[in-house]
């Protein structure tokens, strides 16, 4: 072989890998396993198997040796990792599959004892296979984006009530296998303090992928779209009773949350759930409700806020700002002013009293105060406000005023 020939020589196994890539990730996986005579697994970033070859038992990925930042460099590194196969820990090596600088998956090779030694010998073929996987994933992604465009236009029209005919919605939904004869509800996911100009958009993309995955695992066809900083899911409800549906939704959100935390430890995901709608024409209402539930949930620290579960807050949240400010001043203004002038804690005490259902014993326990001290303070509050605190209507007004304060309207 002369110099030119040896310089441009392409080994047969590379050619075979390239040919196998026509069959997608499974083809690459099978060919690589056959060349190396070792088990190979390709996973997504959450370690869900996308393809596997020559596996004897089920394999769980325990850890990857290096930190993610080290794996995701300009050129993907090949690093040590550990699996558990049938309860037995096994060494392996792993290469990140990157697409446009973002982690899209992993390529694992189960090696056994002398992993470190083997890395150097098979490094270049793994890097090559990893690049082929990148190309394959790009193809998949482009195809998915193309399909998603049509889906998104349809979902968008549903969310803004632009489709007025029920039959039209049902037949359009059938194209993607979505059954709009069933009840649905809208769930909105977003990141707290979403910043469009930071890495947050990437986090939204990952969250979208994750949500689709969890929906598929729940045997539901994902009806979801990304909208700038939010992900909107049209969730199909299979049960008839509201309580059952709520617990199913809670479980779904919990699963998404757990997976999101695995993916990103500083996960800032928050959610809101609208009311159930059996008529797809009216799903836009559920969407608006879900967004209100999301905002109110953030303000009141509710973990899984259902619009149905919000009481007075949902009226106060949307009410005219000037009007609620005047109401607040009218109800508690005098007391607030008194506290400011005299440096007292009457507002704080009354807030706790309202939060503890106007029960003196519970409030005393919560504030570590004697009941008589509380009685003295409430007498003072009654004098300042010129109202009786045992009057039901006064209590209602005070509760509403504190809710306005909580909703940051003041």
């Amino acid at each position: 072989m002369d110099l030119v020939e040896s310089t441009f020589f392409v080994p047969d196994y590379l050619h075979d890998l390239l040919v196998a890539s026509e069959k997608g990730l499974k083809g690459i996986c099978a060919e690589l396993a056959s060349i190396l005579s070792l088990p190979v697994i390709i996973t997504d970033p959450l370690f869900n198997h996308l393809a596997a070859a020559q596996l004897v038992n089920n394999v769980e990925i325990n850890y990857i040796d290096n930190q993610q930042e080290e794996i995701i460099g300009e050129k993907p590194l090949v690093v040590n990792c550990q699996f558990t196969s049938n309860g037995v820990p096994i060494n392996g090596i792993c290469s990140a599959i990157l697409l446009d600088g973002r982690l899209r998956g992993y390529l694992f090779i189960q090696i056994g004892e002398d992993a470190a030694e083997k890395i150097a010998r098979i490094y270049s073929i793994i890097a090559y296979a990893s690049s082929l996987c990148t190309l394959e994933l790009r193809k998949r992604l482009e195809l998915k984006q193309e399909r998603q465009q049509f889906k998104e236009a349809f979902i968008y029209d549903l969310l803004y009530g632009n489709m007025k005919q029920k039959n039209e919605i049902i037949s359009y939904g059938n194209i993607w296998g979505w059954d709009f004869t069933q009840s649905h509800t809208i769930i909105v996911f977003s990141l707290i303090d979403f910043d469009y100009y930071s890495e947050d958009q990437k986090h939204i993309d990952s969250l979208f992928y994750l949500i689709e995955r969890v929906l598929i695992e729940s045997n539901l066809k994902p009806i979801a779209m990304k909208k700038r900083g939010e992900i909107v899911v049209i969730y199909q409800l299979l049960g008839e009773e509201m309580e059952t549906n709520e617990s199913v939704i809670k479980e779904f959100i919990q699963r998404v949350k757990i997976q999101a935390e695995i993916m990103d430890r500083n996960n800032r995901m928050a959610t809101g759930i609208g009311r159930e709608s059996s008529n797809p024409e009216e799903l836009y209402k559920s969407y608006q409700e879900a967004k209100v539930a999301y905002e109110v949930g953030l303000l009141l620290n509710i973990h899984t806020p259902f619009f149905n579960g919000l009481g007075l807050e949902r009226i106060l949240y949307k009410h005219d700002l000037q009007d609620v400010k005047e109401y607040y001043d009218h109800t508690l203004g005098k007391l607030e002013k008194h506290d400011q002038v005299h440096g007292g804690e009457l507002m704080h005490t009354l807030e706790f009293y309202a939060a503890n259902q106007y029960d003196i014993t519970k409030t005393a326990d919560a504030l570590f105060l004697h009941r008589n001290t509380l009685r003295y303070r409430f007498k003072k509050v009654e004098e300042i406000l010129d109202k009786k605190l045992d009057d039901m209507n006064v209590r209602l007004n005070i509760t509403a005023a504190f809710k306005i304060k909580q909703l940051r309207k003041i």
Binding site: F150, A153, Y160, N162, Y196, R228, E295, K318
Partner: protein, 182 residues
């Protein structure tokens, strides 16, 4: 065929606006609105800064939510439209909008609002207000794809954006290095 989802929105550069009101006049001229109807309004923010605001074609439009006749729709390109055939002139949208976008038209006795000159846009032209702005203080973009680190979601003097998530972005006022003598 359904069109691709976009979110057209205005971008307002506070430094470049000197309050000439050309946008407001162009809007009135294009849409032939009554003299009492102001779809676009230019107001003074501080001594030397102005704000030009119309309907912000919000992500969560309050007008859309409160309308009992469902007269509002949000097009695939993000433009919030009002169907005047359905409007009864009840005025709920006028009260609900934090930006004062829907206006009561005494001639038709119905609510009307900026429709982002969609007939012009369909012909490939920019909205009249954008075209008339000689300093390019007012531009319009697809906010789903537009990206500039200098822009902000709100500026002092603009109503709370949390409720409706308006489709407007701002280049905030920067400290001036030169002043003109008056």
């Amino acid at each position: 065929m359904r069109q691709m989802v976009k979110q057209m929105g205005f971008v307002f550069n506070v430094d470049l606006c000197f309050g000439c009101m050309a946008c407001e006049i162009a809007c009135r001229n294009e849409n032939q609105t009554d003299s009492t109807v102001r779809w676009r309004k230019v107001s003074r923010l501080t001594d030397d800064t102005f704000l030009s605001v119309s309907c912000n074609h919000c992500n969560s439009p309050e007008c859309f939510r409160v309308c009992p006749e469902n007269a509002f729709t949000k097009r695939g390109d993000g433009i919030v439209q009002i169907n005047s055939d359905l409007c009864t002139g009840c005025g709920l949208c006028i009260e609900a909008c934090p930006y004062g976008a829907p206006q009561y038209d005494p001639v038709t006795q119905k609510a009307s609002k900026c429709q982002m000159c969609y007939p012009r846009q369909d012909r490939g032209l920019p909205p009249a207000c954008v075209e008339s702005c000689s300093t390019e203080a007012l531009t319009f973009v697809d906010l789903n794809t537009f990206c500039d680190k200098k822009i902000v979601g709100s500026i002092p003097g603009f109503p709370d954006t949390r409720l409706t998530n308006p489709s407007i972005a701002f280049y905030p006022a920067t400290e001036r290095k030169r002043y003109f003598l008056k």
